[in-house]
């Protein structure tokens, strides 16, 4: 398997999103979301809150072992979660369960515990990081290579694959070439390779749009005049970018949460209005019509999208200097959310875009969520552009009972995959 990101740590507490997909192969969480967004048992077989949802008790699955052979204990789980929930709640362990106690209601606790960051990990006697997932780490060369081996004593049954070799830092083009040449069985697909992959009959697995591509104005460094930010938001031709540069992958969106997750994203306009944009720009002083637009230099697609945005902005009378230098005034960023829970996802996206924490979301009722999102987008401190899926291409040797091999959230389901031997 090959991937573009360079993962430097597998520790769940690092909360490094690029590692989340791999963490899902190595570690388990107490609960997990299914593709319908419902919580399913993980290391916890059941969970029960009290009436005011301040106290939650999770009963642990019996006979679960870590990769180093040690049994999963309530104390280990409590210790791992205490680090995650420090300052929010206390975690206590009993014989076969843990109790999480807070002084305020925490109705979204199970959803939070389904996040990759809530993976249960422990340190072995030799200091190596071990989990209870279907694969164990046999070799890890940070940012370059990861070797996984099947965990024979996995509580849900041994995976079909004996081992998984993961090459990191491979460009989308190289990954596609390696897939075509049979050097890789599973690769990530970028939109630019989507069409040739399809034309070649390559199997591709798409997740739901789980990545938000947006413009983020830096906190404290953003242009003070909101008319500039609004003009830029109105000048962007999302349709052209979606059709050409993204090869119709993902969806254009003017909201933070994708339509499939919130259900109300269509209420946020995302159409270009060049006339209005020009009017706003005309009201600006000439010196305020220029600013840099930074993009991730490792993201080739981001560069061309940023340049296209600069072209659109120029039509409105704005001058954007596209740069791959780390500038904070305006950035084109990708935010990958990992939760199927809208509240948790919105929090992830807001944090990723540098927006303030959403307030008064409450229990996640749609109208409250909508208001919170509307509030976040007021002033155009962030301009959502697209929701993009994660796409993988599988080689002809890859087999599984039920395709696709990834979850709706984009997590690889390698435990159910096998590879045919080369004849």
């Amino acid at each position: 398997m090959e991937m573009r990101e360079r993962v430097v740590s597998l520790d769940p507490t690092d909360k490094a999103v690029p590692a989340a997909g791999l963490q899902m192969l190595i570690f388990d969480r107490l609960v997990r979301f299914d593709d319908s967004g419902r919580l399913q048992p993980g290391l916890a077989v059941s969970w029960q809150p009290d009436n005011d949802r301040k106290r939650w008790e999770f009963r642990l699955r019996p006979r679960v072992k870590f990769h180093d052979g040690y049994p999963l204990s309530a104390a280990t789980v409590a210790g791992a979660l205490q680090r995650l929930l420090a300052g929010t709640a206390t975690v206590a362990a009993s014989a076969d369960s843990i109790v999480i106690q807070s002084d305020h209601a925490i109705p979204s606790l199970p959803a939070e515990l389904a996040l990759p960051a809530a993976s249960i990990a422990a340190r072995g006697p030799d200091g190596t990081l071990v989990g209870t997932g279907p694969f164990r780490v046999s070799r890890f060369d940070p940012a370059r290579h990861l070797s996984l081996a099947a965990f024979e004593e996995y509580w849900a049954g041994r995976p079909f694959l004996d081992a998984v070799e993961i090459e990191m830092g491979r460009s989308p083009r190289d990954q596609f070439v390696d897939l075509q040449l049979g050097r890789a069985d599973l690769v990530e697909l970028s939109p630019s390779e989507m069409r040739p992959a399809t034309e070649r009959g390559t199997r591709s697995w798409n997740s739901a749009p789980v990545e938000v591509l947006a413009l983020a104005f830096g906190q404290g460094h953003a242009p003070e005049d909101p008319r500039l930010r609004e003009a830029l938001a109105l000048a962007i031709d999302r349709a052209a970018i979606h059709n050409v540069l993204l090869q119709r992958q993902g969806v254009a969106n003017g909201a933070l949460l994708p339509q499939w997750l919130s259900g109300y994203a269509f209420l946020f306009p995302n159409q270009m209005d060049l006339v209005r944009a020009r009017q706003l720009v005309a009201e600006l002083a000439p010196a305020d019509r220029s600013l840099p637009l930074a993009y991730d230099p490792a993201d080739a697609q981001a560069r061309i999208i940023a340049e296209r945005i600069a072209v659109n902005a120029r039509d409105a009378g704005l001058s954007l200097q596209v740069t791959n230098q780390p500038r904070t005034e305006l950035r084109l960023v990708r935010v990958r959310f990992t939760s199927l829970d809208p509240v948790a996802a919105l929090a992830e996206i807001s944090a990723g875009l540098g927006l303030p924490e959403a307030r008064a979301i409450g229990s996640g009722r749609p109208e409250l969520l909508y208001n919170a999102e509307r509030s976040l987008l007021e002033g155009y401190k962030a301009v959502p552009l697209f929701d993009l899926p994660e796409t993988y291409a599988a080689g002809p040797r890859v087999r599984m009972w039920l395709e696709p091999g990834i979850s709706r959230m984009g997590w690889l389901q390698l435990a159910d995959v096998w590879v045919e031997a080369v004849p």
Binding site: S192, A240, N243, V244, Q247, E307, R308, V322
Partner: protein, 581 residues
């Protein structure tokens, strides 16, 4: 300034002027000839540059055609011509095509003028290039033209060609080009000594690449046609061919400045100038030496003549000039020598004549002086002889009277002879400090008694003496005697009475004594001969008085002059050197 120096200066000036004129003419002629050659060379260089530029145009056309004729491009045209074409798959197509053909710019433009793919600005897909749809567009006539290509960070001047790929009734336009900048120009094969500068019209304030090129750029801006000018000076000078770079709509996109260095010409002119200076300097130096020699040859006889003339003027009449040449100077020298010779002969003859005249005068005077006492002597002796014969008794008485008369007349003869003897035996003066005023007063008082004698008309004496005169070194006796002679002369000159004035005063070097009368005066001829010994205008004079005066004055290193006119009296003026304090 001497004649020789003047002559030398004139010759050197003439030589220098001649050398300068010749150098100027040679330098000017040579420069014009080389300028014509340089113009021809520059024209050839510009022509070579144009051919090179045209070959690059053809190369761009060839490359664009290469892309337009490629099967992959035809496939794009076919896809674009189909119903509901999805051209997004070709958004990245232009860059590899441009790279493969070595083009800086490439755009694939659809039938509607929308950019399908852009190599230089990939993000500009979908934007329209409306100019390409204009049926009367110039690009359809000119396969390669200049245009401003839009880039993310501005625009760039490019040599652009448009290729057309037709699929059914739809067209795909391949717009490719090569950037025209200094790098492009540097890649052209340029002859040595030539440089090419590109000035772009950016629409902003004109900023010529070189300040010296500003005027010619402005000229091309105004006239919209080629211009040729020479800018800079000396070795940095260049002949600039300014070629307007016109775009599709005949708009001025820039100015191409083809500069041909005039360094070689400037160095040649400088060399000619240096040679001119060296040759001129050498010529002037040689001319100086030759002129020195020539003027010496020419002026030496003249100098000798001048020296001879000065000697003659100084009284050396024996001076002669030796000039061996037979030219005019030699003839002049010979005439000079002949003239001095004749002068000497005339002087000798004059001296001889004067000597004879003087002797004759002396003889006449002596005869006259001696005849007066001799006549009574003869009468007395005849009386004595007659008395002895006729009156013997009275002879004794007559004898006594006659001998007394004889003695008297003999005494007169002796006196006459004594005066002549005195003049001959004038003693040298015994010099001492003398106050001329005292001498003048003494002379006047000595003869004052004679002025008022009743037997003659009265003469009024007058003394006009200047006080505080410096003393002179003189013999007071001889000086008084000289003044006395002048006073006597003045008395004799005024038989009808008048005024006798003795006047003293200062002159430039000492003191002056003047003795004036109001008598009848003298003629010019009389004045000239007045100091000649034994010359007198008086009936009973010896002619020695003024000769003695002149002798005394001369012995005192002084000068005597006379000023007189008939009827207005006579003034004698004696100038003596005063003793320096």
């Amino acid at each position: 300034m001497t004649f020789r120096t003047r002559l030398l200066g004139i010759i050197v000036l003439m030589v220098a002027a001649t050398v300068a004129l010749v150098s100027w003419i040679v330098a000017g002629t040579t420069r014009r000839a080389f300028e014509r050659m340089d113009d021809a060379r520059t024209a050839a260089l510009v022509g070579q540059f144009r051919r090179e530029f045209d070959s690059r145009r053809a190369e761009v056309v060839r490359r664009v055609d290469g892309i337009a004729n490629a099967p992959s491009t035809l496939q794009i045209a076919i896809d674009a011509g189909g119903p509901n074409p999805d051209l997004s798959r070709y958004v990245d197509q232009a860059k590899p095509l441009a790279d493969a053909q070595g083009l800086d710019f490439l755009e694939l433009v659809g039938n509607d003028g929308a950019i399908i793919s852009s190599a230089q600005w990939p993000a500009r897909f979908g934007y329209k290039e409306d100019w390409i749809l204009d049926p009367a567009a110039d690009w359809r006539r000119d396969r390669a033209f200049l245009d401003n290509v839009q880039l993310p960070d501005g625009d760039a001047l490019a040599l652009v060609s448009v290729g057309v790929v037709e699929a059914a009734d739809k067209k795909l336009y391949v717009v490719g080009g090569e950037r025209v900048d200094q790098q492009f120009l540097a890649s052209l094969v340029l002859p040595a000594g030539m440089r090419v500068v590109l000035h772009r019209e950016t629409g902003a304030a004109p900023a010529p690449v070189d300040r010296t090129l500003g005027p010619i750029i402005d000229r091309v801006r105004r006239e919209r046609r080629e211009a040729v000018e020479t800018v800079g000076e000396s070795a940095a000078a260049e002949t600039i061919h300014a070629i307007p770079l016109l775009g599709r709509q005949n708009n001025l996109l820039g100015v191409l400045l083809v500069a041909s260095s005039r360094r070689e010409l400037a160095e040649l002119v400088q060399l000619i100038r240096t040679i001119g200076f060296v040759a001129g300097g050498t010529g002037i130096l040689v001319a100086l030496v030759l002129a020195w020699w020539a003027t010496a040859r020419v002026t030496r006889p003249v100098q000798r003549l001048a020296e001879g003339a000065r000697d003659v003027a100084a009284g050396n009449w024996n001076a002669s000039v030796e000039v061996p040449s037979g030219d005019e100077i030699g003839a002049l020298a010979r005439a000079f020598n002949q003239m001095t010779h004749q002068l000497i002969e005339q002087r000798d003859r004059l001296l001889q004549a004067e000597r004879v005249a003087a002797w004759r005068e002396l003889a006449r005077r002596l005869a006259h002086e001696l005849k007066n006492p001799l006549f009574p002597l003869q009468i007395t002796v005849e009386n004595m002889k007659r008395a002895r014969e006729r009156y013997p008794d009275e002879f004794e008485e007559v004898f006594q009277e006659s001998t007394a008369t004889l003695l008297t007349e003999l005494s007169n003869l002796k006196q006459i002879i004594g005066r002549f003897s005195d003049f001959a035996k004038m003693p040298p003066p015994e010099l001492e400090q003398v106050d001329v005023n005292e001498v003048a007063e003494r002379a006047m008082s000595l003869y004052r008694a004679q002025l008022g004698t009743p037997d003659r008309a009265p003469i009024v004496p007058r003394l006009e003496l200047t006080g505080s005169l410096p003393p002179v070194e003189a013999d007071p006796e001889q000086l008084g005697r000289a003044l006395g002679n002048l006073v006597l002369n003045a008395i004799d000159a005024m038989p009808n009475g008048g005024t006798l004035t003795i006047r003293t005063g200062r002159n430039s070097s000492g003191v002056r004594i003047e003795v004036s009368d109001t008598g009848e005066g003298l003629t010019k001829e009389e004045c000239e001969r007045l100091f000649t010994p034994y010359y007198t205008t008086k009936a009973h004079g010896t002619g020695l008085g003024l000769a003695i005066v002149q002798s005394v004055v001369s012995d005192h290193k002084g000068k005597i002059a006379v000023e007189s006119e008939p009827g207005k009296g006579t003034t004698f003026r004696i100038d003596l050197t005063a003793i320096q304090p």
